[in-house]
């Protein structure tokens, strides 16, 4: 479903990604871990072209999205993204946050979009927050809203960029639970995370990114029980 070939990305003279080649199949749940500055977020952000790769190719559903002629807005509609800092739209109500894109992109009528939004809000138990503004919600609530805002577009794949890193510890659980639910329903997802326990439990494959390349990847059990790469061993000994 997503194919990456020889992906390089530099910011000025700073080489962040140094050649990543990878396939992500439908239904996979990929967890990406690694030290800060390793390039894991940049890799994720390249997948929907929030960062433009310096060289290399990215294919989504057989379409080469790194081609300048590709309509990236169209591709992004099927790739939901959740950010570390939620990035809800503070000037819009929760309901409008969720329905803005489906309505403006003419994917749904206003009524359809609102019904869908209410349904999703119901699901996460925040139906009563529909008419409030993001500033009135807790971090955990904001992030769950951000997740269903992406879901309202009926995406084929979800990209999570450290979705719990900006949360108070007590709110991490509610967000991870929701992501886990989505995983159980079969959503394809790529998650950059520092939550090792979560990666182990939810992922079908774990990748260790360091110095801009994938140094090691494996099924979660193998990955955490018998790491091979010395850098990974060192990293795991520090975080576990």
């Amino acid at each position: 479903m997503i194919e990456v070939k020889e992906l390089h990305k530099s910011f000025g003279t700073n080489d962040v990604l140094n050649g990543i080649t990878e396939r992500i199949e439908q239904g996979e749940k990929i967890a990406i871990i690694g030290p800060s500055g390793s390039g894991k977020s940049t890799f994720l952000r390249c997948l929907n072209l929030l960062e433009r790769p310096t060289s290399g190719e990215i294919w989504v559903d057989g379409e080469k999205i790194t081609d300048p002629k590709c309509n990236i807005d169209k591709v992004r509609q099927k790739m939901g993204m959740v950010f570390q800092h939620f990035n809800l739209f503070p000037h819009l109500t929760i309901l409008d946050n969720i329905t803005l894109a489906p309505i403006q992109l003419k994917l749904m009528s206003k009524e359809e979009a609102q019904n869908k939004a209410y349904e999703l809000l119901e699901r996460i138990g925040l139906r009563d927050k529909a008419d409030t503004y993001p500033a009135m919600l807790s971090g955990g609530q904001k992030q769950r809203i951000a997740i269903i805002r992406a879901l309202a577009m009926n995406p084929e794949v979800m990209l999570f960029d450290e979705p719990t890193s900006a949360l108070d510890p007590e709110m991490v659980g509610e967000v991870l639970d929701l992501i886990k639910e989505l995983a159980d329903e079969g959503m394809t997802m790529v998650i950059v995370t520092h939550e090792m326990g979560f990666a182990k439990e939810v992922a079908t494959r774990v990748m260790f990114v360091d110095e801009g390349v994938i140094k090691e990847q494996n099924t979660p059990n193998e990955f955490f029980e018998s790491p091979q790469n010395p850098r990974l061993k060192e990293f795991l000994s520090k975080v576990l």
């Binding site: 169209k74 993204m81 800092h85 503070p90 803005l100």
Partner: protein, 235 residues
């Protein structure tokens, strides 16, 4: 004492009643309002366009030529006195225009002047918005233009409102130089009456009070708008 009041009364009559001079003040008041109102509208439209072009160029490196034009415009307008710009419009650029259109020239002059300042305010407002907002909009599949329109600009304008209000107040008072190109605005009306009656007190003070009332009213309006837009902040 009685004599002093008598004098004051005479001055008042001379300034406003004799020769129906209040007509002149009324006309001046109307022109001041008219010029300010239209100039604000023109200024905001130009300011939004120029501000967006400049931010778009800063963020993407595209649109080099429009950006250069916008920069030159802002530089010239901000680098020369308002009164001189007005004279250049009237005596050089529109020299052949019928004198009946002098109000149009004034509106254009003040609008183009204000646009340069508004554009800088808008530019600052847009740049104050977290880049995550643009990324969130784009990640949902919205285009750059849609994200700008529905997500960035509403927040930018809200953040810019105090500075915009300031600009509107400056503009309203700046229209007092319109007399230079023969427009009878509030200040010019006072000046004409003063020159006719040789009584400076009532024309000048009365007009000063009118400006003050207008600015105070405008401030109140702006405060209301700010409060309304603040409803999404934690209450």
């Amino acid at each position: 004492m009685a004599e002093w009041f008598q004098q004051l009364g005479d001055q008042f009559m001379k300034t406003f009643v004799e020769g129906e001079r209040w007509h002149l003040f009324w006309q001046g008041f109307g022109n001041t309002i008219l010029i300010s109102l239209f100039a604000v509208v023109i200024g905001v439209i130009i300011g939004l366009l120029v501000g967006v072009v400049r931010v778009y160029h800063n963020q993407t490196g595209k649109w080099k030529v429009p950006n250069a034009v916008c920069r030159a415009y802002v530089s010239v307008i901000r680098g020369t006195p308002m009164i001189l710009q007005l004279m250049i419009w009237y005596y050089i650029i529109f020299a052949s225009l019928n004198r009946d259109y002098v109000l149009f020239v004034a509106v254009l002059g003040f609008g183009l002047n204000s646009g340069a300042y508004v554009s800088e305010i808008i530019r600052g407002g847009i740049q104050s918005i977290d880049v995550g907002q643009m990324e969130a909009g784009r990640s949902l599949g919205l285009s750059q233009v849609q994200t700008m329109r529905f997500i960035i600009l509403p927040q930018a304008v809200k953040n810019s409102l105090p500075a915009l209000g300031n600009e509107f107040i400056v503009l309203l008072k700046e229209t007092s130089v319109a007399g230079t190109i023969t427009v009878i605005d509030l200040t010019q009306a006072a000046n004409l009456v003063r020159a006719n009656t040789y009584e400076p007190f009532f024309p000048l003070i009365a007009v000063a009070v009118v400006y003050w009332v207008l600015v105070t009213g405008l401030s109140a309006l702006l405060k209301r708008a700010e409060r309304r837009m603040a409803k999404s902040d934690r209450g």
